[in-house]
Amino acid sequence: MTVTRRRFENRLSKLIKLPGGKTVQEAMDDAESNMESIRDKVLSAMDKKVLQLLDSAASVTADPNPEALTNCYNVANEIFALAGAFGKAQMGEAAYSLCELIDRSREAGKWSDPAFQAHMNALRLMRHDETEEGQEARKVVLTGLKSVIDAVTGPATKAR
């Protein structure tokens, strides 16, 4: 096998050192404050995606079609990214767990509607209860989701 090794100029490394600009701390502070400016807009869009996911759950039956599952997976993955960016970690974890369930079920060739519905209920809970007092209970629910996935697909295997 022929392997070619070439060195290209990294222009970014020259540009980043040009006079002017801002300090690393200023750059991080500005990025965080810019993110805050779109927080409400993004979280409202995320809530719509959660509702969309809950609505679509009805169409995912005991024998779901691959297209419906891919759609659920993509929406859940998006919810995970948006929730996590704005500190909604538990909502993000529930959405991530749904991605994990769908992916591992596809890999294992198994499907459990109750496991899917458990995730839908968890998402409903995360959406309705954001109280400080409910945090521990939500944590227990999230731990339970992991056990549910393991029960359906077997323990997670090493990435291939």
Binding site: R7, G21, T23, V24, M28, D29, A31, I38, N77
Partner: protein, 201 residues
């Protein structure tokens, strides 16, 4: 808090950098644009599909590409693979930061082999993303092209071949230092290598 590898008082200038952002979700794109604007990037290019990103690769000189694993018409892995083998120079070797939320089991090897410079896990955290931008700006890895892989050299730790193996490349060195095969250098030769330099304060 910045990461230990980045001095918070160090200056960075991204005003003149041409950055292409690729993200299928409009909210995800909003977040990226706000974060990159905060870093000082003036007008990042935006593409929600692989097709429009390919057009931008052909028409702009790019300094950094940030790509999500899910695009509207293809996955991000396919795009990076296309970029690395496109022969569109110098963009084919531009630094690529690859973002991924949940990674499907079937995509783990694709992530390793697509040719991205760095993989970043979502959700986006400004501190982490800035750290990676600075990291890819500092690095200058050799660009490898062969039938199975095109992209920056994935061996950037230089830890030698795996223990118990001789390595597959002609320049692989064993981890253990063997007996010297040439005479020691003279003190004069060593001194000539260590030339005093002015310290810049």
């Amino acid at each position: 808090m910045p990461s230990p590898s980045t001095n918070p008082k160090a200056k960075i200038n991204l005003e003149r950098a041409t950055v292409l952002l690729m993200e299928a979700s409009s909210q995800g794109m909003d977040i990226l644009v706000q974060v990159l604007n905060g870093f000082g990037v003036r007008t990042p290019l935006r593409a929600m599909s692989g097709a429009s990103a390919m057009e931008m690769v052909k028409s702009h000189l790019l300094d950094l590409i940030i790509v999500d694993s899910q695009l509207s018409d293809m996955d991000g892995y396919e795009f990076v693979k296309w970029l690395r083998t496109s022969k569109i120079e110098p963009n084919c070797a531009a630094p690529v930061i690859f973002m991924s939320g949940h990674t499907q089991v079937s995509n783990v090897t694709k992530g390793r082999d697509c040719g991205a410079s760095f993989l970043v896990a979502k959700p986006i955290v400004p501190r982490v993303l800035l750290d990676r931008v600075i990291w890819v700006a500092r690095e200058n890895r050799v660009f490898i092209e062969c039938t199975t892989y095109s992209g920056p050299d994935r061996r950037f730790k230089f830890a030698g071949p795996p223990p118990g193996t001789e390595g597959r490349r002609h320049d692989d060195l064993p981890l253990e230092v063997g007996t010297a095969s040439t005479p020691n250098m003279s003190q004069d030769a060593i001194d000539s290598l260590l030339q005093p330099q002015k310290a810049q304060l």
